[in-house]
Symmetry: C2
Subunit: 216 residues, 2 copies
């Protein structure tokens, strides 16, 4: 007797995302998709990571407009590709096809790790698979404890949640345990790491995670 | 000789937004649309304002999910209407039709001022006119100086820009003059007000603005 199996039919974006992931795996490259609200410290995190890890890292910067973050990263002497999603009112997320195009133009042969700094918002980027091996969500302590409950998709789709700006904790009425328990409510598997890009506290745990993922 | 005039043809959302604005004007009600990144302090701002102003205020809360903010506001004993844009992956903005519907259900006869707390992101809400008399953008000092340049539409469409969390300035490497000059670059007309919801600093200037707008 025939068993009917319902399969998820991938839409075009998901198909290209799968291709990106597989193509990078063939080359032994890890793709990390960084998502957050504006100003949580994604660019500072990349700067610290590039300075600290002894691996070849490239960066794809997603912004609606400006090349401000790409200019910061390029100063580190690493390959940086800017995707601008358009003039005023451009797209609020990156799509797999744009990443595919960027990867093709970058030349990735000797790269170990590629960061995508997605557009700064907690809603739209989480809806589009770009082909990353890990989505990493950065939540700064200044944003409040309730954000995982209010923007669950972004937290649910991320294997790592970095809680940033912990150096500001003494000056805030924020309960770190509540942030963590809210993350765990929407994503019990999330690997939660507390960091400060300013003092460097906790970054070793982030680097350990990355090193465990790098194939080369 | 006939003079041809090209007119902007309003799309459906813009038409309903116009209706909302006119209908509220007839009733002498001011509608303020609050936009920001997640965690900039919109809800705290509403709480402080409701406690300080001697006017009848109502609130429409926009969230993808949860009623956390609405519950905070309802504790103040004022009328609160929650719009949830859907379960995981819901809309990243509010639209004029939903505001029209909310206004119809709320009963606004005795209201002086209505706040809409839009969904927390700097991209999509700015693309949809909801019929507000003023868009007000809240940017917290922790988000960095470059945000007006990276998300210009939201700043350009706002007549007032509140710079929040100024109590944290001593603990941040942030240049307030640069935040302000970047706001002025994308919106030279913006009324910029520095505030702290925690200490109350600067809120008088915000209240003065609101009182100057209230018709009743």
């Amino acid at each position: 007797m025939e068993i009917k199996v319902m399969q998820k039919i991938l839409n075009e974006n998901d198909q290209i995302a799968q291709q990106n992931r597989k193509e990078l795996e063939k080359q032994g490259i890890v793709l990390i998709n960084l998502m957050s609200s504006p100003g949580s410290g994604k660019t500072s995190l990349i700067e610290n990571t590039v300075k600290s890890l002894d691996h070849k890292i490239s960066v794809i910067e997603g912004d609606i407009q400006t090349t401000l973050d790409a200019e910061r990263i390029a100063k580190l002497g690493i390959e940086t590709y800017q995707i601008n999603t358009g003039p005023f009112g451009g797209d609020c997320h990156l799509e797999a096809a744009w990443i595919k195009n960027a990867l093709g133009e970058m030349g990735t042969e000797e790269t170990d790790l590629i960061f995508v700094e997605n557009i700064g918002n907690l809603v739209c980027p989480a809806e589009f698979d770009i082909g990353a091996h890990h989505n990493v969500l950065v939540l700064s302590v200044t944003e409040g404890e309730d954000k995982p409950l209010k923007y669950p998709l972004a937290f649910r789709n991320s294997s790592v949640c970095l809680i940033s700006k912990i150096d500001l904790l003494p000056y805030l009425d924020i309960d770190m345990d509540k942030i963590k328990s809210n993350i765990s409510k929407v994503n019990p598997q999330a690997n939660i790491i507390e960091i400060s890009n300013k003092t460097g506290e906790g970054l070793e745990n982030w680097y350990d995670f990355l090193i465990s993922q790098i194939k080369k």
